[in-house]
């Protein structure tokens, strides 16, 4: 893990999305909301290496990356205790088990709902096990 200042806490978000237009919009949206972007990865292998290198603190995961399931990325994130939400064109019942239990939003997603959900998963747990500080952005 890279050494960094702990206050104010600004989590680095990994965007895992293969559709260029959607990726671009997500990126813009997050930046405007005050988030820092760790990386935009369009392919599973790129995403996995970012996760492995510890360069991200949370992620927005597109369930399907050009025909390949992003399930392994979800598993890797969960293994490190990193919060993430899933964006998907599939209905919940059609989702693979790797994503079960994760927070799932349907595409196309309302920008405000997305930001709201992201902030929520970054909030600390009641038992304080996850010490995330919530940095209010311009759009909160």
């Amino acid at each position: 893990m890279t050494a960094r200042t702990t206050t104010p806490y600004n989590p680095r978000i990994l965007i895992i999305e293969d559709e260029p237009v959607v990726a671009f919009c997500l990126e813009e949206l997050l930046i405007e909301a005050g988030f820092e972007i760790a990386c935009v990865a369009g392919r599973l292998d790129a995403a996995l290496s970012v996760i492995a290198s510890g360069a991200c603190d949370a992620a927005i995961v597109d369930a399907n990356l050009a025909g390949v399931s992003a399930g392994p990325a979800a598993v890797a994130l969960a293994a490190r205790g990193l919060p993430f939400l899933v964006l998907s064109g599939y209905l919940p019942e059609q989702q693979k088990s790797a994503f079960s239990g994760a927070l799932c939003l349907q595409k196309p997603c309302r920008p405000d709902l997305l930001i709201q959900t992201l902030r929520r998963i970054l909030r600390p747990d009641p038992d304080g096990s996850r010490m995330h500080h919530h940095t209010p952005g311009p759009n909160t």
Binding site: P20, V22, N64, A66, G67, G89, K96
Partner: protein
């Protein structure tokens, strides 16, 4: 006329008549006395009684005769010269004759017969010689010429000394029975044929024992058991029903409703092959006793198809949602970066570009898309200029769907831009769209959009969404690099990407972007 001679002749006649009658009476007495008769007829209060002088009692004879009259089979007796000495009422009816008329006549005169098979004659004769009797089938021909199939038994009746006295025939008309048997046989053959050839499995079960009594070939094939291993077993023993309890349930239901349907039973055959079957059972009455018929249909294929359709539907849904997300993104960006007056028009154009790209994807079933197809599609508004003011050139190459999407959108932006401000906005400007593949040092795909002859252009001051589309977005789509320069003669745009990111593999024509299988969901 002489009265004397008349009287004389009539007297003579009367005399002769009396003499004859006397002779007759004397003759009768003589015959009786000398034992030339079989029986005497004596008057009694109950009517004439026939007394047989030797041998059988007439009453016994009469009773026997009455019995034989009741018998429905025809009975005929003949003497050693084959003359009829007796025939019963049934025989009279069968051959349409009257006993008084045929007694004493040769049997062959009265009854016309034909052997069923030529070899029967020899067999019958041999049987008669050896055993004194024979039973078999013959054809007898009625007086009206019609034929009937009969079952005949002959017996030789012998005297105490052993010499043949007479022959007894008992004849039964079996024409109807034969006809019925033939009908049943045809029906049986027909049923067998259906049973054997059916493309569904058929099992026959005994409702009381619950055991299989027959299985057709399709069934044995389906289950992977030979027929003799199925017969005698209960359904749960061959894995068709889960256990004895399920078995009893089915039979109970059948008894009540006469009909049971299991739409989906999982079944595992001996060799571990898994199948899904539909079982329809019916309780039938088969000529007095009941039988259960189970029709078993393998629906594995059907289920697989249903599952596949479901998969495809989910996929379509996913792609539609994806596309909507893209549209949403394009809308947001267009609104953000564009001139408010033209937002709607620009958005509409862009969505049109997306639609064109989508059409190509579908047409190519989400596999590789030909570069020149893509270029032509996005330049459809200028198709009359292709070959003159618009030149398209490059080797055959197929882009992956993501690459096609990104490059397609870039081309759309470039074309829109050229039409508004660039080489296609006047009458002399030209556009060249070219691409090539280099192999050394690394395989690279390179594409260029080159304008000239258009009005003088200057680099734009603001970074509109279009700039992002031909820049970052196109780059992201192919994991490559783009450059855009605004030269004096016109705009130049270039894209370079590693071949493996942009193009489909030459052999299969399939990209990594395949329709996902079960495991990706």
């Amino acid at each position: 006329m002489h009265t004397k001679s008349l009287t004389q002749s009539s007297l003579f006649e009367e005399n002769a008549d009396l003499r004859a009658r006397l002779t007759e009476a004397e003759e009768m007495l003589r015959a009786i006395r000398s034992g030339d008769t079989d029986a005497l007829v004596v008057e009694s209060a109950a009517g004439p009684q026939v007394y047989v002088l030797q041998g059988l009692d007439a009453e016994v004879n009469r009773v026997r005769g009455t019995m034989l009259a009741q018998v429905s089979d025809a009975v005929i007796a003949v003497d050693s010269e084959e003359r009829i000495v007796y025939l019963n009422a049934a025989a009279e009816r069968l051959y349409d004759v009257a006993a008084p008329r045929v007694l004493g006549r040769e049997l062959s005169d009265v009854v016309e017969t034909r052997w069923l098979h030529p070899e029967d004659e020899a067999i019958a004769k041999a049987a008669l010689c050896r055993h004194g009797k024979w039973r078999g089938e013959e054809i007898h021909i009625r007086r009206d010429g019609s034929e009937m199939l009969v079952e005949v038994s002959f017996t030789v009746v012998r005297a105490i000394g052993g010499q043949p006295l007479s022959m007894l025939f008992v004849i039964r008309d079996v024409t109807e029975r034969k006809r019925h048997e033939d009908k049943v046989l045809v029906s049986e053959i027909r049923y067998r044929r259906i049973f054997e050839a059916a493309h569904d499995g058929i099992l026959l079960l005994d409702p009381d024992t619950r055991k299989i009594i027959d299985a057709n070939p399709f069934m044995t094939q389906m289950l992977g058991y030979p027929r003799d291993q199925l017969v005698g077993k209960e359904l749960f023993e061959i894995g068709l029903l889960k256990d004895m309890v399920a078995n009893q349930e089915m039979f109970a239901k059948l008894k009540v409703a006469g009909h049971v349907r299991y739409e989906n039973l999982p079944f595992e055959s001996d060799d571990g092959k898994h199948q899904d079957v539909e079982v329809v059972s019916n309780l039938y009455d088969e000529n007095g006793h009941s039988v259960i018929q189970c029709n078993v249909r393998d629906i594995t294929e059907r289920k697989r198809n249903e599952a596949h359709v479901k998969l495809l539907m989910a996929e379509v849904n996913h792609r539609a949602k994806n596309l909507l997300a893209v549209v949403q993104g394009v809308a947001l960006q267009t609104a953000k970066h564009g001139d408010p007056a033209t937002i709607a028009a620009r958005l509409s154009e862009r969505i049109g570009g997306l639609a064109t790209g989508q059409d190509l994807l579908v047409k190519n079933q989400w596999r590789g898309i030909d570069v020149s197809d893509l270029v032509e599609a996005q330049l459809v508004h200028f198709k009359d200029l292709i070959g003159t003011r618009v030149l398209i050139d490059g080797p055959p190459a197929r882009l992956t769907p993501p690459a096609a999407q990104g490059i397609g959108m870039a081309l759309h932006e470039l074309a829109t831009n050229a039409a508004k401000y660039g080489a296609l906005s006047n009458r002399e400007g030209r556009v060249r769209v070219v691409w090539h593949i280099t192999s050394a040092p690394k395989p690279l795909f390179s594409m260029s959009w080159l304008e000239d002859g258009g009005p003088k252009v200057a680099a734009p001051t603001r970074t509109g969404f279009g700039r992002i589309v031909v820049g970052r977005m196109a780059e992201a789509a192919v994991q490559g690099a783009t450059t855009i320069t605004f030269e004096e003669k016109g705009l130049s745009w270039n894209l370079i990407a590693p071949v493996e990111n942009a193009l489909t593999s030459a052999d299969t024509g399939d990209a990594a972007y395949d329709c996902p299988h079960d495991d990706t969901l």
